[in-house]
Assembly symmetry: C2
Homo-oligomer: 431 residues x 2
């Protein structure tokens, strides 16, 4: 048997503790599967006194400074579980790679923003930089795209990448509550953070999407080019109308190679009921990859939590223990392509638009005239009666049209004097 692989765990939050307990609980199993021992030789955390419910052996070196752990002589693999795109997490990863340690991280923000530079650093140090836990929690989707489906050109790759948003949308549908109510319930249950903006504004989804895009299309990670729209404007009415039209609302991250470059978008979508992605509920994540040979593959599982994240972190460690190391973005950094972002204005598809108007004669004529002016044709339209004085919802489903035309239509609709609230637009994705 080869010698033990020595792990330094930087960050002892929920995930760090999950990783420690998995390593402890499944020591024999991991030894069988890796052909060598995985041992924790160092840990770091800001507060070494805190009781975490795990006992750490006396042979484990404690560091208050995570960067000291990252260059410690008794560490082969640095496991970065601190989080955040900059600051200490970035320093730890850089220090580790510069000290020729392998790195395993769950940090999607760090990789979305600095993935390119860190990949180049890892390759020049001839060390691994692995991040299975950064996307899709316990679902081994990074590996599936980088290896399992590597023979394919991908028509598109998309998914539900944020459990918080999917939980909120699912609970709005199940209970009929509005967005704010669903959010605060999610916060009470620990499914949403006190400051939920990274999740509900789509940023977390965009971070993850940018990594999938790079892997699927062999391109440089390009997070700044992702089109991002969150879910906070979705109302209970939209959830209800979606269902009437045969759709369900999901926050998707979607990547596609187009004639113009690479398209990366994150926004709420109406997806047809009965498709696999529409049936994913609660905090579950799912990724769909459509390969030109493999066809449509669907990967589904818990998107977050200590257990699934620890499972993914250890999967990376097992790869390193087995000496199965690939460049971080599958192809060597020097061979990744730099493609232009495909402009969002060229998105072609149907739209759901919900307007809230004062019920006056001529309103409908005004709305439909604007749409006609820009060549946007209407598939269906619904106006519901409300109590007098209240804004009346008018819901329109368009035929397929271009985003640029819809932008012009919506700008003009928003300016109508009978408009009581900003129009809500949700893109319909046939997928």
């Amino acid at each position: 048997m080869s010698e033990a692989l020595r792990l330094g765990i930087a960050g002892l939050g929920t995930v760090g503790i999950g990783v420690l307990s998995l390593l402890e609980e499944q020591r024999a199993l991991l030894r069988q599967r890796c052909g060598r021992e995985l041992v924790v030789s160092a840990v770091s955390s800001r507060d070494p006194q805190k009781n975490r419910g795990v006992t750490l052996g006396a042979e484990i070196v404690w560091h208050e400074d995570a960067c000291a752990l990252a260059k410690a002589a008794n560490v082969d693999v640095v496991v970065e579980l601190i989080g955040g795109s900059d600051g200490i997490a970035k320093q730890v990863v850089e220090t580790a790679l510069n000290s020729r340690k392998h790195v395993v991280t769950a940090n999607k923000a760090l990789l979305a923003i600095h993935g390119g530079a860190l990949a180049a650093l890892a390759e020049s140090a001839d060390r691994a930089l692995c991040y299975e836990a950064a996307v899709g929690g316990g679902i081994p989707v990074i590996k599936a795209i980088r290896e399992g489906l590597a023979a394919n050109r991908f028509d598109n790759v998309y998914g539900i990448l944020n459990g918080t948003c999917n939980y909120i949308l699912t609970s709005m549908e199940k209970t009929g509550v509005d967005f704010n109510e669903a959010l605060s319930q999610a916060q009470d249950l620990g499914y949403a953070e006190a400051d939920p903006s990274f999740d509900i504004d789509g940023i977390d989804t965009a971070h993850k999407l940018s990594l999938l895009t790079s892997l699927a299309y062999g391109t440089h990670v390009d997070y700044p080019s992702v089109f991002i729209e969150g879910i906070s404007q979705i109302g209970a009415l939209d959830i209800q109308f979606a269902r009437e039209f045969g759709y369900r609302i999901k926050l998707l991250g979607m990547a596609r190679r187009t004639a113009h470059g690479v398209e990366q978008r994150v926004h709420p979508c109406m997806v047809p009921l009965g498709t696999p992605i529409a049936e994913v509920s609660g905090v579950t994540n799912a990724v769909v990859a459509v390969g030109n040979y493999a066809g449509q593959s669907v990967f589904e599982g818990p998107g977050a939590g200590a257990g699934p994240t620890a499972s993914a972190v250890i999967a990376d460690i097992i790869d390193i223990a087995r000496k199965k190391i690939l460049p971080p973005f599958a192809a060597p950094f020097s061979r990744l392509e730099r493609l232009a972002p495909s402009p969002m204005e060229l998105r072609h598809g149907a739209y759901y638009v919900r307007l809230t108007v004062v019920d006056q004669p001529g309103v409908m004529a005004g709305i439909t005239a604007i749409m006609a002016e820009h060549g946007v044709s209407i598939d269906s339209i619904i106006q519901r009666a409300r109590a007098p004085g209240e804004g009346v919802p008018v819901v329109i489903i368009t035929h397929e049209t271009e985003e640029a035309d819809m932008n012009r239509v919506l700008a003009q609709l928003a300016a109508l004097k009978q408009m009581r609230e900003p129009p809500v637009r949700i893109r319909i994705e046939k997928l």
Copy 2:
């Protein structure tokens, strides 16, 4: 860039041709992803004259004898696409490994029956024996269990592993036809073979299951211990009753480690509507792996066909090109465990039983007395009226009980003089 990897393709059926066209069409993409060229240097087939719709370069050596290809000096990887558990396929794989060539195969029958010996041979030759295409078509499920979820102890692993059976069951539900009708439609459409027994009798599912079991539990492949029951006794009535009770009938392969050893079973199951596995329709395959840390992961995609199979075959070749080679069953052969099969008689769960009886006074009393005698309690019972003289269906759902008791009950019920047809038993799996 490393030197080219030279492939010898043994067998030019649909899959072989798919592999050739993928390699040709995606040459540049594969070069980027592998960091080296994948070239076909030899092919073999029984009929070199046949027009296959692909043109093969003059530099490719044709062999009429696949074993000659398997030891040819200009071949690094032998791709065995001949099929069959013995005969020429086995000779080709053995010859290749003995000649120190890597082997990639889609042959589940071969591995289910000779996987242990071949793995030992591959390891002693220090060469790869890869078989992603053997299970789940294009879904990279072998890799997911062997690597992506390798940190987990599996509570259970199960799936829809045969597209033909799932197609037949789906079409019985959609159209209301009986089994024989659905089978002959599937044959007309090319979804079932002229001799469909390998599929409908559950043998193909059992072959695949035995491979998943070995990977998930670190045990020797043990196909002979799989409990196997096919789908040919399922009637249109069963499909209809299943739906009434909130279930759908699927042929599942299921593996689990129990206190008694390893349980491997293949049989029709009633699974609750709304679970991921119940919603998999047509020729799609799906595998569910429940890990003690990752939770429930679901993998879904096309289970067969030239494109998906070629995708999986090339994924294995890419692993070899990237020098990412593992022992065939993840842990080295010498460290695999040999566990006793867990007896089917100990299966604990609910049962659906459909009886066809002559409608005479006292029949129901007789049936229920037999069940009471063996301590099997009844959850619900339905008797439907039929035209006079016809057998009357009596459908019973039991509470959870043991397989051994049900076996005794069914033997006695079958012997009742009012019984018109053999009882149909379908196990209910809560999963």
